[in-house]
C-alpha cells in the first residue's frame, strides 16, 4: 500500500502534475476544422452497392433490429433464344436503412452473399429529426464510393482461400510481366528499328502521367460542398476530378507534341458509347442477370469489339508487322466471371510491372464507364485492369518488334 509520505507531498505532487500539463499541447482535435483519420474497418455507416444486390433479403432477415426495408418486384425476362424459357428476376425498388434503429452490429454486411453491403467510415449523417434517419438506396449508394480498401492482415494471419488465390494469380502475372519487361529492355537496347521504339516512347507517355495524390479539384469540391455533400465524399470526388482533368491536360499536351512526329497508326479508335452488343445482352439476360448489368456489359462488349475491329483495320492498312492485338486475346471477356475476376484483381494492388504503379488507370475506359453511369469505384477498378492489359500488350508488341523472330501467335498463346 501507499507508503506514508510526509503530509503535503501528495498535495504538491497534484499541483505538479497539473501544471506540467499546462505547457503540453492540448489533445483536442478541433473537429469540424480538422478530422481524424478513421481506420478502414470503422463501422461508420452501411453503404450499398445496389448493382450487386439481388434482393435475397438475407440482410433484412438477419438484422436484429429489423431496420432494413427492402421492396422489390419481379420482372419477366424474355427468353434469350427463340423457343427458350422466359425467366423472372428481382428488381430492387427500395432499399432503406433506418439508422435510428440500427445498432451497427454489422451482421447485414457479414451475411450479404453478393458484396452489396459495405462498411464505410463516413459518420456525418446526423439529422434534426429522427424520421430523417431513414436513408434510401440513392444515399446508401453514395456512401459506397467512400468505402476504403480493406487493410492488409497482420503477420502470421492465414488468408481466406479466395484472397490467397487472387494473390497467387497476381504473383504469376507479375512474373510474366517481368519476363516481358526483360525482353522489352533487350529490344530497346538493340536499335535495329527506330520506329517501334519511338512509337513505344510516344505511347508510354500516357501511363507516365503522374498525378500527385492529395491535390483536389477545388471547383468540384466547392460545388459538392455547396450541394451539401459530406466533406469526405466531396474530397474523394474532387480528387478524382482533378486527376481526370490533369490527365486530360497532359494527354492533350502529349498529343500535341506527337502530332508533329510521324506516329504509326496505333491511334486509339474512337467508339461511340450507347450502342450495345445485342448478342452479349441476350446471352446475359438468358443467364438471369439483371437487365442493368446485362446492358452495361453488353455496351462494354460492343465497344471492345468495335475497337478491335477498327484497330485491326487500321493496322492492316498501316503496317503488316504490328498485328498484335491484345484486346482480342481473352476469348470471352463478356462472361461475367471474367469481369468479376478483373475487378477482384484490380481491387488488390495491380500486378507490378515496372511501369505499372497503383493509381494509374486507363483514362479512356474510365471515362467511358463513368459516362455509362458506373460508380467511380467500379470504373476505376476496371480502368486499372484495362490499363494493365494494354500495357502488357504494348510490351509484348515491343518485344516482338525488336525480336522479330518469334511469331506473334505464340506470344499470344502464352498470355
Amino acid at each position: 500500500m501507499a507508503a506514508s509520505a510526509p503530509p503535503g507531498i501528495g498535495l504538491l505532487k497534484g499541483l505538479g502534475v497539473t501544471v506540467k500539463h499546462l505547457f503540453k499541447r492540448p489533445a483536442t482535435l478541433m473537429y469540424p476544422h480538422e478530422r481524424n483519420v478513421l481506420p478502414p474497418r470503422t463501422r461508420g455507416v452501411i453503404a450499398l452497392m445496389d448493382e450487386n444486390c439481388t434482393v435475397c433479403m438475407l440482410c433484412s432477415r438477419e438484422c436484429p433490429d429489423w431496420c432494413i426495408y427492402i421492396e422489390s418486384h419481379k420482372e419477366t425476362v424474355p427468353p434469350a433464344k427463340e423457343g427458350g424459357r422466359a425467366r423472372t428476376r428481382n428488381v430492387l425498388d427500395r432499399f432503406a436503412i433506418d439508422f435510428s434503429l440500427c445498432m451497427y452490429c454489422g451482421i447485414c454486411v457479414e451475411v450479404c452473399p453478393f458484396d452489396a453491403l459495405w462498411w464505410s467510415p463516413e459518420f456525418e449523417y446526423s439529422e434534426y429529426d429522427m424520421g430523417e434517419m431513414v436513408h434510401e438506396k440513392e444515399k446508401l449508394r453514395e456512401w459506397a464510393d467512400t468505402v476504403p480498401p480493406p487493410p492488409p492482415l497482420e503477420e502470421g494471419a492465414i488468408l481466406p482461400a479466395e484472397v490467397k488465390d487472387a494473390i497467387e494469380k497476381q504473383e504469376k502475372e507479375r512474373e510474366l510481366a517481368a519476363a516481358a519487361q526483360a525482353e522489352a529492355q533487350q529490344a530497346a537496347e538493340a536499335p535495329a528499328d527506330a520506329a517501334p521504339a519511338a512509337a513505344a516512347g510516344a505511347k508510354a507517355k500516357e501511363p507516365e502521367i503522374q498525378v500527385k495524390a492529395g491535390e483536389i479539384d477545388q471547383e468540384t469540391f466547392d460545388k459538392l460542398i455547396a450541394e451539401g455533400k459530406s466533406e469526405r465524399l466531396a474530397r474523394s470526388k474532387a480528387k478524382a476530378a482533378y486527376v481526370k482533368k490533369e490527365k486530360a491536360r497532359l494527354k492533350a499536351e502529349a498529343e500535341a507534341a506527337e502530332a508533329a512526329a510521324p506516329a504509326p497508326a496505333v491511334e486509339e479508335p474512337k467508339v461511340e458509347a450507347g450502342q450495345i452488343d445485342q448478342e452479349t445482352f441476350d446471352r446475359l439476360i438468358a443467364e438471369g442477370k439483371p437487365e442493368r448489368m446485362a446492358r452495361s456489359k453488353a455496351k462494354a462488349a460492343y465497344v471492345k469489339k468495335e475497337k478491335a475491329r477498327l484497330r485491326a483495320e487500321a493496322e492492316a492498312g498501316a503496317e503488316a508487322g504490328a498485328t498484335a492485338d491484345a484486346d482480342s486475346a481473352p476469348g470471352a471477356p463478356e462472361s461475367p466471371d471474367a469481369a468479376a475476376e478483373g475487378e477482384a484483381t484490380a481491387a488488390a494492388p495491380p500486378p507490378a510491372e515496372i511501369h505499372v504503379e497503383a493509381g494509374e488507370i486507363d483514362q479512356e475506359t474510365f471515362d467511358r464507364l463513368i459516362a455509362e453511369g458506373k460508380s467511380e469505384r467500379l470504373a476505376r477498378a476496371k480502368a486499372k485492369a484495362a490499363w494493365v492489359k494494354k500495357e502488357k500488350a504494348r510490351l509484348r508488341a515491343e518485344a516482338e518488334g525488336g525480336d522479330a523472330a518469334p511469331g506473334p501467335a505464340d506470344e499470344e498463346g502464352g498470355a
Partner: protein, 370 residues
C-alpha cells in the same frame, strides 16, 4: 441595488476628496463616475477571471477551452450571459416565491459593494473608508445570506443541504479570516485599505532599509486568509455547498436563467474581490516589487497622484496580481478533490482558528516590542 449603493456611498463621500474620480464640485457627477467604475469592475473583471479559469483549467486538462466565441474564445462568458438571459426563469411550485426570487440579488449586491473600497491603483478607488477592511469583510459575509435564502426557498432537499453547508462553512471560516485580517490591521495600524498599502510601502524589516510586503512576516496569516477565502467562496476543494456529484448543484439546483447567472457572477466576483483583498493586505497593492514603487510614485505620499503612467501601470500591476491569485484558485480546483464537510470544520476549528490566534498574538507582541 442602486439605493443601497447610494446610501452606503453618500456619507463617506462627503468626507473624502482625494480620489482621482473626484472631479468638479458637483455631487452627482463624481457619484455617477463612481457608480460606473464600481459596476464596471463588477461586470468586467469577473468575466476576465472566468475566461482565465476556462483557459488555464482547460490547458491543465489537455483541452483547449473555449475557442469559437470571439477571438480565442474570449467572449464565451458574454455568450453564456446572453444565453442565460434568454432562458426560461423557472420557479418551483413549492418554492417560497419571494424569497426564492430575492435570494440571488441578496447574494450579488454585497459582492458589488466590496468593490467600492478596493483600491486598484494610486487614487483609483471609489472610496477610501477609514473602516475599509472592516467594511469589506462585513459585506463579503452578507453574500452567504443570499445563499441560505436560496437554499431554503427552493423547497428542495439538495438545495437545503447546500444552503446549510454554506452557512456552516461561513461560521467556521469567518473567524480565521477576520483574525488573519486583524493581524494585518494591527501591523499596519489602520483599517483603511489604502492606508494598509501605504504602510506596506514603508515597512522596513527590523530597522534595515529593506522594504518588504506583509506576506513575508505574515506568511501564516496569508495562508490562513487564502484558505478561509476559498472556503467562504465555496471554491474547490471547499465546494461542498455546491458539490455537484453529491448535492446535484447545492443551493443552485433549482435556479435557472438569469438568477443562476447572478449566482455565478457572484462567485466569480467573490474570487476577484477576495484576491484583491489578498493583494492589498499582503502583496503590497500596486507596488511592482518590494521597494520598487511605480514611476511617479517615488515619494511615499504619492499614493494618490502618480501621473497618468503611474496610475495606469498601478492598475495593471494590481490586476496582474489579482489574476495570479485567481489562477492559483483555479489551479487548486484542477488538482484536488473535494473535502468532506466535517473535515472542513475540523480543519477550521482545530487548525486555522488556533493558528490565526497565534499569528495575531505574535504580530501584536512584535508590534509592541519593536
Amino acid at each position: 441595488m442602486i439605493m443601497l449603493l447610494v446610501t452606503s456611498g453618500v456619507a463617506p463621500l462627503l468626507a473624502q476628496a482625494e480620489s482621482i474620480m473626484d472631479v468638479g464640485d458637483t455631487f452627482i457627477i463624481p457619484l455617477l463616475i463612481k457608480l460606473v467604475f464600481v459596476l464596471g469592475l463588477f461586470f468586467v473583471v469577473p468575466l476576465v477571471a472566468g475566461y482565465l479559469e476556462h483557459k488555464s483549467m482547460a490547458r491543465m486538462q489537455h483541452r483547449r477551452g473555449p475557442v469559437e466565441a470571439g477571438p480565442a474564445g474570449s467572449l464565451q462568458l458574454v455568450a453564456d450571459g446572453i444565453k442565460f438571459i434568454q432562458k426560461e426563469d423557472t420557479i418551483p411550485a413549492a418554492a417560497d416565491k419571494w424569497v426564492f426570487a430575492m435570494a440571488p440579488g441578496v447574494a450579488m449586491v454585497p459582492a458589488i459593494l466590496i468593490f467600492l473600497v478596493i483600491p486598484l491603483g494610486p487614487g483609483v478607488f471609489a472610496l477610501d473608508l477609514e473602516l475599509g477592511l472592516f467594511y469589506a469583510l462585513a459585506a463579503s459575509s452578507v453574500t452567504v445570506l443570499g445563499v441560505l435564502m436560496g437554499g431554503w426557498a427552493s423547497a428542495n432537499k439538495f438545495s437545503l443541504f447546500g444552503g446549510l453547508r454554506a452557512g456552516g462553512q461561513l461560521i467556521a471560516y469567518e473567524l480565521p479570516l477576520i483574525l488573519a485580517a486583524i493581524a494585518v490591521a494591527v501591523q499596519a495600524g489602520t483599517l483603511s485599505l489604502v492606508g494598509i498599502v501605504e504602510a506596506q510601502a514603508n515597512y522596513m524589516i527590523l530597522g534595515s532599509e529593506v522594504n518588504l510586503w506583509y506576506v513575508v512576516p505574515q506568511i501564516l496569516g496569508f495562508g490562513i486568509f487564502f484558505v478561509a477565502a476559498l472556503a467562504e467562496l465555496s471554491r474547490p476543494p471547499f465546494d461542498m455547498p455546491i458539490g455537484d456529484s453529491e448535492l446535484v448543484f447545492g443551493y443552485m439546483t433549482e435556479y435557472s436563467g438569469i438568477k443562476y447567472a447572478m449566482y455565478m457572477l457572484t462567485e466569480y466576483a467573490g474570487m476577484v474581490s477576495m484576491s484583491a483583498l489578498l493583494v492589498v493586505l499582503y502583496l503590497g497593492g500596486w507596488q511592482i516589487l518590494p521597494g520598487v514603487p511605480l514611476p511617479g510614485c517615488e515619494t511615499s505620499s504619492g499614493l494618490f497622484d502618480c501621473g497618468v503612467t503611474g496610475t495606469v501601470l498601478g492598475v495593471g500591476v494590481t490586476m496582474g496580481k489579482i489574476m495570479l491569485l485567481v489562477f492559483v484558485m483555479v489551479w487548486l480546483r484542477v488538482a484536488y478533490p473535494r473535502l468532506r464537510e466535517d473535515q472542513l470544520q475540523k480543519i477550521s476549528w482545530t487548525m486555522l482558528v488556533p493558528l490565526s490566534l497565534l499569528n495575531l498574538a505574535v504580530v501584536t507582541i512584535a508590534k509592541v516590542v519593536f
